[in-house]
């Protein structure tokens, strides 16, 4: 694992950031990441055109540097041409990337949506699920720089419209299971006209006009195959329009729960009962609706400890006219809606929000938020609203209050933003951001500037799944501060972030203790882990027999 020393330590823990302690710069072009998304626009304005697409960070060759998969969508219907293929870029470890799509064996030319990476067979190499309209593809990493399409062999049937997906070990057997969000049933598309009836100019129909569908939970059989257990798990009744999904252990009982952001339908929170079944606590938890009890246009989402109480809170990106949601976890399966009072929501109300990532942009120890914005309509009716919109950065003041302030030229650039994923691609100890835009260029926002100290951790599970997906990590600093982070595979919108955990430490010059709560139940303590670099923590428990 390559390390890097942390930068200048000027931020006090929890301090409000000065105007811009850090700056983001779009280095996609300079890094060799030339990618233009094609939404495959049709005269009919079909629903899938406004949804895609996402990106995934994955270290496919285990060199300690994050590589990048970018999903392509159009044309619609798919032309199966090379031009419509997703692209895969190897990280050259010098700030540049090389397109290795062909070499790696990626030949997906379907109408792509999302990319969710994880090592599902615990062989030490990260695999990849690509979701799409009318077809998902599961790629197995062969460990030699190539991937093989194992969709059929693995038993991943192709439901109509996979969007976001997430990997998590819901049954605790040490193998990652898979939850694939399903969007709407668009078979009605051809019988609808939306837009300006007087002129005959079409636009996209709002999702409320389409029926919901049931998302799919696959249990990993541990032998490279999966079984659809949606019904047995008690999820077969949940008709939603899933755009964002994640595994999150809301009550820290070691059993990952599932949260789903639905579009114009109540969001779902499925509590893992531990017997292979889930209980729907969407309503009683207070995470199903907005502050006033209305369903919202849920898109991307993330989970993290925003208020420092050790519990994962949930944030959701919503449609224009709605705020982003911040559901504060009170424990006991109950959440409090702090969207307005925290300042997290109001700055976002005029945007159509998609990607949403919690990240500590300046390494001051608290989680800030990045929001990728872009309208769904070609011609938004509301005056002054454009399809292209600026992204946003929401700064956490360390007390759970947020302030919006973009830092750098990318926050002035308007694009039709969609999926976003965070990774420290240059291993300098700060989070960078990959952003996909609908019908526009890919962006890589490099994080530069003055940061606090940091600690980077990569987990290697033995009894748990190989990547430690679902683990909780708690850092205690000499000043007594406790920071909690959670390892996820699949979050934001159609995307996968860096699975390594990055702790911002502000001025702390050391870490007293790191405690890893593994999905297996093992609790592992690492005293005085080195800061300013990435370290590997291997689970102490032996593998299952």
């Amino acid at each position: 694992m390559t390390g890097a020393i942390g930068l200048v330590f000027t931020l006090a823990a929890g301090a409000s950031p000065p105007d811009c302690p850090i700056t983001f710069t779009d280095v996609a072009e300079a890094s060799g990441l030339r990618f233009m998304h094609d939404r495959g626009s049709t005269p009919e304005h079909r629903l899938p055109e406004m949804v895609g697409a996402g990106v995934a960070w994955l270290d496919y060759d285990n060199d300690g540097w994050m590589d990048l998969y970018i999903v392509q969508s159009g044309p619609l219907p798919p032309a199966k041409s090379a031009k419509s293929r997703d692209r895969f870029f190897r990280n050259n470890r010098d700030g540049t990337f090389t397109d290795v799509t062909e070499k790696a064996g990626f030949r997906d030319s379907g109408y792509g949506m999302g990319a969710i990476a994880a090592d599902y067979d615990n062989d030490g190499f990260i695999d990849l699920l690509v979701t799409g309209y009318r077809g998902n593809t599961l790629y197995h990493n062969n460990g030699d720089g190539t991937f093989t399409d194992v969709t059929a062999k693995a038993g991943i049937r192709n439901p109509p419209w996979g969007t976001s997906a997430a990997w998590g070990d819901f049954d605790g057997d040490g193998y990652l299971d898979l939850f694939i969000g399903q969007y709407a049933d668009d078979t009605r598309d051809k019988s609808l006209f939306c837009g300006d009836r007087a002129t005959g100019v079409r636009d996209y129909c709002p999702p409320i006009m389409y029926d919901g569908t049931v998302s799919v939970l696959y249990r990993n059989n541990g032998n490279g195959t999966f079984t659809d257990v949606t019904r047995e798990a008690g999820l077969g009744h949940a008709l939603g329009k899933a755009l964002g999904v994640l595994f999150v252990d809301i009550d820290l009982d070691g059993k990952p729960d599932i949260y789903v952001a639905n579009d114009e339908v109540m969001n779902f929170l499925f509590h893992n009962l531990g017997n292979g079944r889930f209980e729907d606590i969407s309503i009683s938890s207070g995470t199903g609706f907005g502050l006033e009890g209305n369903p919202q246009g849920g898109m991307g989402l993330d989970a993290g400890d925003l208020d420092g109480d050790g519990l994962p809170d949930i944030v959701v990106a919503n449609f224009e006219g709605e705020t982003n949601e911040y559901y504060r976890n009170l424990g006991g399966g109950v959440f409090e809606d702090l969207s307005v009072s925290s300042g997290f929501g109001p700055p976002t109300v005029n945007y159509v929000k998609f990607g949403l990532n919690l990240l500590d942009v300046d390494n001051d120890g608290d989680l800030d938020a990045f929001v990728s914005n872009g309208h769904i309509y070609d011609r938004p009716r509301r005056q002054g609203t454009r399809s292209e919109q600026k992204p946003q950065l929401l700064w956490n003041d360390g007390k759970g209050r947020f302030r919006e302030h973009g830092c750098g030229a990318p926050f002035q650039r308007e694009l039709v933003g969609r999926g976003s994923a965070v990774a420290d691609y240059d291993n300098d100890g700060d989070p960078d951001i990959a952003v996909s835009s609908s019908g526009g260029p890919f962006q890589l926002l490099r994080n530069d500037g003055t940061h606090g100290n940091w600690l980077g951790i990569q987990l290697v599970g033995r009894r748990s799944n190989r990547q430690g997906i679902g683990a909780r990590l708690v850092v205690e600093t000499p000043s007594g501060r406790k920071l909690s982070r959670f390892v996820q595979a699949g979050s934001s919108y159609l995307s996968t972030s860096d699975p390594r955990v990055l702790f911002g430490l502000a001025e702390e010059k050391s870490v007293r203790r790191l405690t890893v709560y593994w999905p297996s139940g093992v609790v592992q303590v690492v005293e005085n882990p080195p800061i300013g670099r990435y370290s590997t923590v291997e689970e102490t428990a032996p593998p299952r027999p």
């Binding site: 609808l192 006209f193 009836r197 409320i208 006009m209 207070g286 409090e336 109001p346 005056q383 002054g384």
Partner: protein, 447 residues
């Protein structure tokens, strides 16, 4: 406009032989809007001179406001019969027919009145409005004639613009109002109507500009200020919305709607202390408004006064048992207080109400989009596909009107008439369908 027309009609009906006492007294009472006594006197006048068009016409005018429509039609019919050359008599007859739900007959009488007195304001104004209701192609030309007759009245071009907006000729409507604004730059009313339309067009920034201009011209009534604040908010200019409402509340301190709107804005920004007095004032001033009780509950809850908040939520539910948000707010509060059973009950009620509402909205939106597709196909010349689309829709005046248009395009006029007859049965008051039916009947070949 209508009242002036009535009075003009009263005063200008030609003088036949009549009993001057009863007729004059009746007309004076009518002018004072004392309809029942006017009716008595005018009946005496009719008895005295059964062939007096003036007496019959004014009697009809006295009967109409008393909702004695059938009798008014009969009297107006006699007025027109005894005064065939009287524009006023035909005008009154037209008004009575319109009140009786016979818009096409009313148009016929208005047209007769306009023929007899092309420069009389009342008949041609009524004719323009009647054409507009029927979406008759002659509407615009007729309004333009009214504009020529009343060049100093800004309400006429505004009426024309509103007609154009209503029939989806948005750009034409905008052009009409902009011409009117150039002619009447100091008309606050024109700018208010323009601002309202711009808000409907979701041109919120322009709407705010128009309403600000109206405000400077004196349109600072509570409704206009509330609208201005609303468009500011929708334009994402919350500070200006708050400033507008703040000024409005200061000017109209007894208006609970303004206080409520201001309180909601503060609450949406997490400013509980600022929101509290406004929402409390609104709730106290209008205790029967469920929404006000609900928002009062929210600000009480945000202030930590849980028991008071619960009481406010319960008042909102009592006032409006089907208000989903009130059940949700109460359920969430109970949940936080660990009263899980009660909470579940409220949250379940909320969910059921919300689901029902969502399904209704979705079904309506889908039907609207399916209807739009059928009309688009028709416009593109695909009449057979359009007909199929209209037939798949649930039967309604709109779907039948579409079927008729498609059938007419397919050269099946008799079927088109049948579709319109059914539409007319479903919506006898719809002047547009009545006019289409009359036109189709007139042009369809006789069997």
């Amino acid at each position: 406009m209508l009242v002036l027309a009535l009075l003009a009609a009263v005063l200008s009906v030609p003088e036949p032989a009549a009993t001057p006492g009863a007729l004059e007294v009746g007309e004076r009472l009518l002018a004072r809007k004392q309809y029942a006594p006017a009716e008595r006197e005018l009946r005496r006048a009719v008895e005295a001179d059964p062939s007096s068009a003036r007496a019959h016409g004014n009697l009809a005018l006295a009967l109409l406001p008393q909702r004695k429509v059938g009798e008014a039609v009969a009297e107006a019919r006699l007025a027109a019969a005894f005064g065939p050359a009287s524009a006023e008599a035909h005008f009154i007859f037209g008004m009575a027919l319109a009140a009786d739900g016979k818009p096409l007959d009313a148009i016929r009488e208005y047209e007769r009145a306009v023929e007899l007195a092309p420069k009389a304001i009342g008949p041609i104004s009524a004719l323009a409005a009647a054409y507009a209701a029927a979406e008759d192609p002659r509407t615009v030309a007729t309004y333009e004639k009214v504009v020529a007759l009343l060049p100093a009245d800004p309400s006429v071009p505004a009426d024309l613009a509103e007609y154009l907006w209503r029939v989806q000729r948005v750009e034409d409507g905008n052009a009409a109002i902009e011409r009117a604004l150039a002619t009447f730059p100091s008309s606050a009313d024109l700018r208010v109507r323009w601002g309202r339309s711009l808000a409907q067009q979701e041109r919120f920034a322009d709407a705010a500009e128009a309403l600000e201009a109206a405000r400077h011209l004196g349109a600072d009534d509570a409704a206009t200020l509330a609208l201005l604040a609303d468009v500011y908010e929708r334009a994402g200019r919350v500070e200006e919305a708050r400033a507008t409402l703040g000024a409005a509340v200061a000017r109209y301190p007894r208006d609970p709607a303004l206080a409520h709107a201001l309180g909601r804005l503060w609450l949406a920004d997490g400013k509980t202390e600022a929101a509290f007095p406004q929402l409390e004032n609104a709730a106290l001033a209008r205790p029967s408004a469920a929404e006000y009780q609900l928002d009062y509950g929210r600000v009480l809850e945000a202030s930590g006064r849980m028991a008071d908040a619960e009481a406010a939520y319960r008042r909102a539910i009592t006032l409006s048992p089907n208000l989903p948000a009130a059940h949700y707010a109460l359920g969430r509060l109970l949940q936080r207080e660990d009263r899980k059973e009660e909470a579940q009950k409220e949250l379940a009620t909320h969910h059921a109400l919300y689901e029902r509402g969502r399904r209704l909205v979705a079904a309506a939106d889908v039907q609207d989009a399916e209807t739009s597709l059928a009309w688009t196909l028709l416009r593109e010349g695909k009449a057979s596909e359009a007909l199929e689309g209209f037939r798949k829709l649930p039967e309604s005046p709109e779907s039948l009107r579409g079927q008729a248009a498609a059938l007419q395009r397919l050269g099946r006029p008799a079927d088109a008439v049948r579709a319109l007859e059914r539409a007319h049965e479903l919506a006898p008051e719809d002047a547009r369908i009545a006019l289409l039916l009359a036109t189709e009947r007139a042009t369809a070949p006789k069997p």
